[in-house]
Symmetry: C3
Subunit: 453 residues, 3 copies
């Protein structure tokens, strides 16, 4: 191995991590305080906030599991990159949620110079990390933890601004964040990946694949994402009936999506076999696509239709579009976030436009004025939804491109091509894992190595 | 490999899956609507339903985890069938819950031609899939996904009819569904397995066993089932105190069951060693056996006694009964569902009969009339409980047998004996997994293969 | 293998397990009854208890997951001891919770000769098992299941007495149990480990290490502990605002801890690489250290500071202190519980002292008298906190030492040195796992074995 790795993290990484945390602590000292419901001094007038907290806390924990176990294990499918997948996921999310609370607080919740933290702050903080984790999926295996921390810092900053634009300024509805998290995170990550494109990996990389057990670890991630997605899409709904409806709609969309993801996975394979990549990812597209319209009166069959469509486009995307993106557009997408978050996110945005346009007093009853901003008709709202989708895509692409160029600075320790998708450069591996590869590879070929790694 | 596999799924499977989903969407368009509490138009008079939803949603998510992670990973113990175990589990459950909502709705909840979906519908839908997943355990590794979808369709149809008979017509109590889900699912699956009996596998199959890591994956399933079983047994209790009691009783039954399952596993082994099969399964028998009587006043020591007994009969069943079933009755039971769901389900039914017979105003107080149908004494209720148990067993055996014969049709692509318990016929395995087996098997014997698979 | 193993468990283990369960059932028959809220006879006056139950049940299930999946999988990092890690964890916890309910009931809740079991009993029972599971971490791989059951029985007895002393007599606050569970469990286990010291293992043991996949299994444990720690630290808070605050504080402490744990892990490594041992464990130290003061008004930046510090001392402890403990003090600590629970537990106790001393009417408002026992100033409370910390450490060390000597009795079947850290002496391993080791080890060295085990 070359001695001149820029990937030696010994001082760069710890100093960056500690400095970020130190700055966070100082900023929290100035800006962050407890919500009244969690403030011993103010509690006696705030029992309503406590009741609200009890109702939402279980959903928060579901979302927490999605962020840390769901996203973390979903990416462990790579045979030699499991430590980095689940480990950097934890690092990014733990930093991102702290930064997200500040950014979202400054933009939305600053009162008398203070940001009050409540259960919705924690949920929104988790949400903000999701964008960075989605983008992480696009550059998985090709970036150093230093680059990832910087990307997280920049992306959550830009995300919070776009979210403010879409949901507060434009007042577009996006309860499950198909547009502001999923499409945003995907296209941001793809733009970063485009800038960081490595011609040297065009022919593929030995480590860019799974082994049997790594695919099973990834299914842990898939299932926890799948199961808890109704909580993700419903937790911040404005009205209780909207929350209830978002759960039912997401549940159905996900169920329908499974059937079409399986069907298409078999259909596009020469021998009719299923592909684990599709099952791990495309079964979740129904959750993404139901996001924007989850709390609208789209009816159960509407939810099923959304999931039905999402499962198809996601699987077809994995099979046919991902290779084209890589070869023609020079966008290498390690986890296929374009298929899981990108296109289904756009589909979700479109479903939101259509559902808004079709909204009427007849279907919504007096709930219509609670669902849409005062005074807007369904058609007008549909226009704002389209603006929100466009904004999310545009900001993501521009923000991702700029971020990509910042990440190009060699000081951040981007790994050389031959060390991509390999835990060995960032992790002390169990004794003998590395030597063993060398020992055995000559004799038995790659597969034996995979089994051990 | 023979070129004439009937197991090539390329068109049969996708067409079936898409057709089923399309029919579901059409039926949902006609029949399914939101519950009033989730309906924007009607919400303002239905805040009680919203409160109920918030109370029950956490239990729903626990049950959701049991269905998808619990059942799914429990079956990954097979060394070369992990993809199919967790993957087909997801497929069956995602389809089954959609069909279950229709079947249960038609039988129980049809009003003005509409079925209103609320949080209990989602829970009951998950429940209905459990029967199919239990039966899946009996035929695991020996059936194609096409067969499994058809079995799910038929079994949930028959399950819903039996459930209607037992709980609505007979008014037998079965809050945790020892009889209507566990015993029913087990004996249905065993009947199917009997009809599909393969003489060619009588001597065992190389792939029908575990490796070290596959047993650890299975423990993920075991633990999530074990932990969340109190939610399963309590979620649809009629009264809040019954729900509370069901949680306490199930918690104790499961704890006692662990002690006897471990004790017996060691006791029946020549060297006193523990067997992972027993630990993965028999520790759960306490949850099954506590099901019927979970919301009755059986007292904590009564719960412990049920769990104590369940752990013993389940472990002994695995050790001594499963081989006899296979050799004498030609019933091959891959996961031992007879020991985890069958016998403990019957035990649960018996416990329910005894607990009903012993019920009195002295113990239940004014709660007695809330616990049992109006006007019935404990003894009379015990008779109806017995009828419910008998009905569940009878319907399961008859329904399973008929279903088995339908599944015999060769068009459904049942795999040949030599491809049983092998993901390779249904899944694109990671590069080299298959070739590698051939490469190495000659040299090192089976075990090396297991490590890689 | 020698024929004279004292580790043959065939009769000793089953008889002990069944006898313990039988005694438990008898004692439950005499002492344990349902809480009024779960009692059909008394429910109609107890709707408040039911409301309370619904609010707390989700937190109970989070804690349940921490105990069974969290602790269980965290210890599966050992390459050949995964069955025992997750399996004995289940056994200890299932027995411990039954015994904990009795011990805590006798000391705290005995009324008219009866102990009423409610949702808080179940939570506290889970808590009491946590002490035994932490101590299990110190002796992991070196003790038989018989020894573990006896240790659990003794430790929970002593724990319940110390907990009574600290929280009821001294009225020290310890909502997240930094002192009474974490520090107590760690030093108890270390004292046991000291007494059971094995000179024969001083030079290390071939099996005392991880392989790639076993480290990923361990991350399942880490993540579920990390995510649900806010529930652990908040569930038994006396006031709703304290519960809310404990969740926010713990969430922040854990997030900050991740950053410093990662930073230090890289900093202390020659090549700047991360170490999975640190990531699996030190990222959790923030949860431990936030325990005592979690429901106090320590402010979000205070929580971050606690987590920041905990991540540092835990990682540094793993790197530099654990080897010294082993070589100088003859304390072998398999899982490094001193670094995860011991020192962070003391840090938590100290944080509680400081937070108490700084408590004032100005910050707490009228909530002050709800937070601290009537009539005590912050400074006085700080003294009682210090007494509580001292008591926990003293009782743990004395109790652990006595327990250690009781466990020395050879009848309990302590395994010989060469069989330590090896599932093979307690478990029937999948066919060929053992033979295979012998077959291949001569040819390929250890690593190939690891891959298979």
């Amino acid at each position: 191995m070359p001695a001149s790795y820029s990937t030696n993290m010994r001082f760069k990484f710890p100093i960056l991590a500690i400095a970020l945390e130190a700055v966070i602590i100082i900023l929290y000292g100035f800006f962050i305080t407890y919500d009244d419901g969690a403030n011993s001094r103010l509690i006696h007038n705030n029992t309503g906030q406590i009741e609200q907290f009890y109702k939402i806390y279980p959903s928060f924990q579901d979302i927490h599991v999605m962020i840390f176990v769901g996203f973390g294990f979903l990416m462990t499918f790579l045979k030699n990159y499991g430590f980095s997948s689940v480990g950097f996921n934890l690092l990014i999310a733990a930093f991102g949620l702290q930064w997200g609370i500040l950014m979202q607080g400054w933009l939305h919740h600053l009162k008398d110079g203070k940001i009050k933290v409540d259960i919705f702050s924690l949920i929104n903080a988790d949400f903000s990390t999701a964008t960075a984790l989605i983008s992480f999926g696009a550059v998985l295996g090709k970036t150093s933890p230093i680059q990832l921390l910087i990307m997280t810092l920049l992306e959550i900053t830009i995300f919070a601004c776009n979210e403010h634009l879409v949901t507060t300024v434009l007042k577009a509805k996006d309860v499950g964040a198909s547009m502001t998290i999923h499409a945003f995170g995907a296209y941001f990550g793809l733009a970063v990946s485009r800038v960081l494109y490595r011609p040297g990996l065009q022919g593929g990389h030995d480590n860019e694949g799974s082994v049997y057990h790594s695919d099973l670890f990834a299914m842990i991630g898939t299932l926890f994402l799948w199961m808890f997605w109704p909580s993700f899409n419903s937790a911040i709904a404005e009205n209780p009936d909207g929350q209830y409806r978002a759960i039912i709609n997401t549940y159905f969309s996900l169920a329908a999506c499974v059937l079409t993801a399986y069907a298409l996975s078999s259909l596009v394979d020469k021998k009719g076999k299923l592909d684990m990549v599709h099952i791990q990812n495309a079964t979740l597209a129904g959750g993404v696509a139901a996001g924007t319209s989850a709390d609208m009166m789209i009816h159960p069959y509407g939810s099923l239709l959304i999931g039905f469509t999402a499962g198809i486009i996601s699987t077809v995307g994995f099979k046919y579009l991902t290779p084209i993106l890589a070869s023609k557009l020079k966008i290498h997408d390690t986890c296929g976030v374009h298929n899981l978050h990108g296109m289904p996110g756009i589909l979700g945005g479109l479903a939101g436009i259509i559902a808004s346009a079709m909204a009427s007093e007849k279907v919504y009853g007096p709930g219509l004025i609670q669902t849409f901003p005062t005074g807007r008709s369904g058609i007008v709202q549909a226009g704002y939804q389209a603006a929100g989708l466009g904004a999310s895509l545009g900001v993501a692409l521009i923000g991702g491109t700029i971020t990509g160029f910042i990440l190009c600075i060699s000081f951040w320790g981007q790994p050389p091509d031959q060390n991509c998708f390999d835990d060995d450069i960032y992790w002390e591996l169990p004794d003998g894992e590395t030597e063993n590869e060398n020992l055995l590879s000559a004799e038995h070929g790659r597969q034996n190595i995979n089994a051990e790694a």
